[in-house]
């Protein structure tokens, strides 16, 4: 073992002692048990990104672990019955609530909740004979309640995928029918297709130059800004919701989005001028035409999708 590894092991052991001292109920866990889990978590969230992380960062990280939740989980993993009772008593409502949110009906929710408890306990056994439950993946970095909700959500998605595969053949037939209907309808003269500006929009928008410039501009944004663009435009979240994911307030998200839009405009314009030889006035005119044409196009589009209640940029 290298000197660095020894030093980290020391820090982890001290951190484990502190964690046990911090916990309201340490559940008679040994320092070694806690240290083992803490070390694994440290590797995952700190040392993987920065193998030479300073001592202070390591200490702060360990201090940020949820001591009570982690002790409870470790005790459950160790097969302590009282710990299991506590876990079920404290979190059965959370699991049920998350299962209800992820299920279409009460029976499915109940089934999902039962599956979660089974997954937590672990139906299979590891090499050392201990149950291979999902609890082994809880790091203590977030709350146990939140982690359980995440477990329920993941399990629900998995179950949904399995069911989707089973009924795929039937659905394919249904999709084919729908596709035929859409095809038939598309030949009808609708108000959207009749409007000349919309055709113009499509043409303008289809031009690879503007599209490529915009794609490149988005890719050049910082990760946080790109995530905001994804959440707001692609996932159709409100600014408040996007802000919650990013950990910022709605107003901050709004300011950030405004800045991103301004940045994107500048980058796209520069790209059109520098890469494709557009003049300044051509770029300006293209933006104006696109805005004019897209506005009418999107009104129809958004109206048809019933999401047009809010004005642009202020969702």
């Amino acid at each position: 073992m290298s000197h660095r590894q020894e030093h980290i092991a020391e820090l982890v052991l001290i951190g484990a002692k502190d964690l046990l001292a911090r916990a309201e109920d340490s559940r008679r866990l040994s320092e070694a048990t806690v240290a083992l889990r803490v070390h694994r978590v440290l590797e995952k969230y700190i040392l993987r990104d920065d193998p030479n992380a300073p001592d202070e960062a390591i200490k702060t990280f360990i201090e940020g672990l949820q001591s009570d939740d982690l002790c409870l989980v470790l005790a459950c993993e160790g097969g302590v019955e009282s710990a299991w009772s506590d876990l079920i008593e404290r979190f059965s409502a959370t699991v049920r609530s998350a299962a209800r949110a992820a299920s279409s009906n009460e029976a499915a929710a109940e089934e999902l909740a039962q599956s979660v408890w089974a997954e937590l306990h672990g139906l299979k056994r590891r090499d050392d004979g201990s149950p291979a439950g999902k609890l082994a993946y809880y790091s203590g970095r977030g709350s146990l309640a939140g982690w359980l909700r995440a477990v329920v959500s993941q399990l629900a998605v998995d179950q949904h995928r399995k069911q989707s595969r089973l009924v795929q053949t039937e659905e394919d037939t249904e999709f084919e029918r729908l596709a035929n209907e859409v095809e038939a309808n598309s030949s009808l003269p609708t108000s959207v297709t009749q409007v000349t500006p919309e055709q113009s929009v499509s043409n303008k928008f289809a031009t690879e130059q503007i599209r490529d410039a915009l794609v490149s501009a988005v890719e050049a944004l910082s990760d946080d800004d790109r995530l905001l663009v994804k959440l707001y435009y692609f996932d159709d979240l409100r600014l408040r919701e996007a802000g919650a994911v990013l950990g910022v307030h709605e107003a901050t998200a709004s300011r950030r989005l405004t800045r991103v839009q301004t940045e994107l405009r500048g980058t796209v314009k520069r790209s059109l001028i520098e890469k494709h030889g557009w003049t300044q006035s051509e770029a300006e005119r293209a933006f104006a035409e696109v805005a004019l044409a897209l506005e009418s196009d999107l009104e129809g589009l958004l109206g048809s999708q019933n999401v047009g209640q809010e004005s642009f940029g202020t969702r």
């Binding site: 969230y45 700190i46 993987r48 990104d49 990280f61 409502a93 959370t94 609530s97 998350a98 949110a101 993946y137 790091s139 970095r141 977030g142 939140g146 982690w147 909700r149 995440a150 477990v151 959500s153 993941q154 998605v157 928008f205 503007i210 599209r211 915009l214 794609v215 988005v218 890719e219 990760d223 790109r226 995530l227 663009v229 994804k230 435009y233 692609f234 996932d235 919701e241 802000g243 919650a244 994911v245 990013l246 950990g247 307030h249 709605e250 901050t252 301004t262 994107l264 405009r265 796209v268 933006f287 104006a288 696109v290 805005a291 897209l294 506005e295 196009d297 999107l298 589009l301 642009f312």
Partner: protein, 385 residues
């Protein structure tokens, strides 16, 4: 123009998103997803910055994990309640940064300096004006009624005369003193009735010394003399044995007069006895600025007392160890301070179910208290509707 600029990009991005441009924007089929712990730690913003950045990259590409993180973040209400503090912090930082930027210092510096000079000038002018008004007010009654010092000297003369009289003929002197006392009472009455704002007279030197007892009240003019200087007329007790009872009475009166005189002097001779009886507001207005400022905390205390009384008279309930007071149709945690950001949770919503699942006490609060409830729980404020 700026708004239009934003809208153009806004519209372009919307169009791309709707036309299935996800792949163009880095949306890819990822084989490995974040595990539950990573998703939850991201949603709860409990990750170190480097790890968070790594997972942000994944979330940009993976709509499935992004959706899950979104659901987790929204189910806990995280970021919605804590954010205002962050916002204030950031705003303050931004404001400070922008205040001390080179551009601001170059252009706004001189403007601020000019404004500062103007403000200081206005304040100084107002203070001087107030000072001069105050001096004028102070001098006006003095010139009209004789200054307190003049009053004192006149009363000293009177005291000497009374001393002489007391020494020579106590019964007569007693009678005179009683007459003076009566005239003084009459003067007070008239002062109270007429307030004598316009013409405070030199009462000290024009006190009628010879006046019939019966006509004392009637004989006083409506612009009655200022009672305060008149009150100084009782002489100090003479060291004679005769007229002991009268002397003891005059001693008390003298002490009372001295107290009045002290009060009079304390108020710089501006507030007369009649004015003391006027509504407190007026006398307060006439106090110097410092005096008014000194009285301000007392006022606040009174308001606080009234508020407390109102509060104690309101309906208060204790649920789940928290105390709530009724405010209209709402219940507000007594520890809640106005302006704190609250997480809005509607009863029956998914967020509500998730919350009460974690915090059964909130369920108890929501069920026992009707209407909107603002509850403080574990450092967070929840607005239950």
């Amino acid at each position: 123009m700026k708004e239009t600029n934003k809208n153009e990009i806004d519209l372009l991005l919307r169009k791309l998103a709707k036309s299935g441009g996800a792949e163009s924007f880095g949306e890819a089929q990822v084989s490995q997803h974040l595990d539950a712990d990573e998703l939850n730690a991201y949603a709860e913003d409990a990750l170190p910055s480097a790890a968070r950045s790594r997972y942000t990259k994944h979330l940009i590409e993976c709509s499935s994990c992004r959706g899950m993180v979104t659901r987790l973040a929204l189910s806990t209400g995280r970021g919605l309640a804590d954010a205002p503090t962050q916002l204030q912090h950031r705003t303050l930082r931004d404001v400070l940064r922008s205040l001390f930027s080179a551009g601001v210092i170059r252009y706004a510096g001189p403007v601020l300096a000019t404004l500062l000079v103007l403000v200081i000038g206005i304040v100084v002018l107002r203070l001087q004006q107030r000072e001069s008004d105050y001096t004028a007010k102070r001098q006006a009654p003095e010139s009209l009624t004789a200054t307190p010092q003049q009053g004192d000297s006149a009363s000293n003369e009177l005291e000497n005369q009374q001393e002489e009289l007391r020494a020579t003929s106590p019964p007569q002197q007693t009678k005179r003193l009683q007459q003076e006392e009566n005239s003084q009472r009459a003067a007070d009455k008239n002062e109270q009735s007429s307030l004598a704002d316009t013409a405070p007279t030199g009462s000290t030197v024009t006190i009628p010394k010879e006046q019939p007892e019966s006509g004392a009240d009637v004989a006083q003019p409506t612009f009655a003399p200022d009672p305060k200087p008149a009150a100084v007329t009782p002489p100090p007790p003479a060291p004679t044995s005769e007229g002991q009872g009268v002397r003891s009475q005059t001693v008390e009166e003298g002490q009372a007069a001295a107290r009045d005189r002290d009060d009079f002097r304390k108020r710089d001779g501006v507030v007369t006895g009649a004015e003391q009886n006027r509504p407190a507001k007026r006398s307060e207005r006439q106090l110097p600025l410092a005096g008014r400022m000194a009285r301000a905390p007392a006022k606040n205390e009174t308001a606080e007392k009234e508020k407390k009384q109102t509060y104690s008279s309101g309906e208060v309930r204790v649920v789940a160890g928290r105390q709530f007071r009724r405010e209209g149709s709402d219940w507000v945690d007594t520890d809640y301070t106005e302006g704190r950001a609250a997480v809005l949770v509607r009863r029956g919503s998914e967020q509500y179910r998730a919350l009460v699942a974690d915090e059964p006490a909130i369920k108890q609060i929501a069920e026992e208290l009707n209407g909107t409830v603002i509850a403080l729980w574990k450092g967070r404020v929840y607005k239950l509707q």
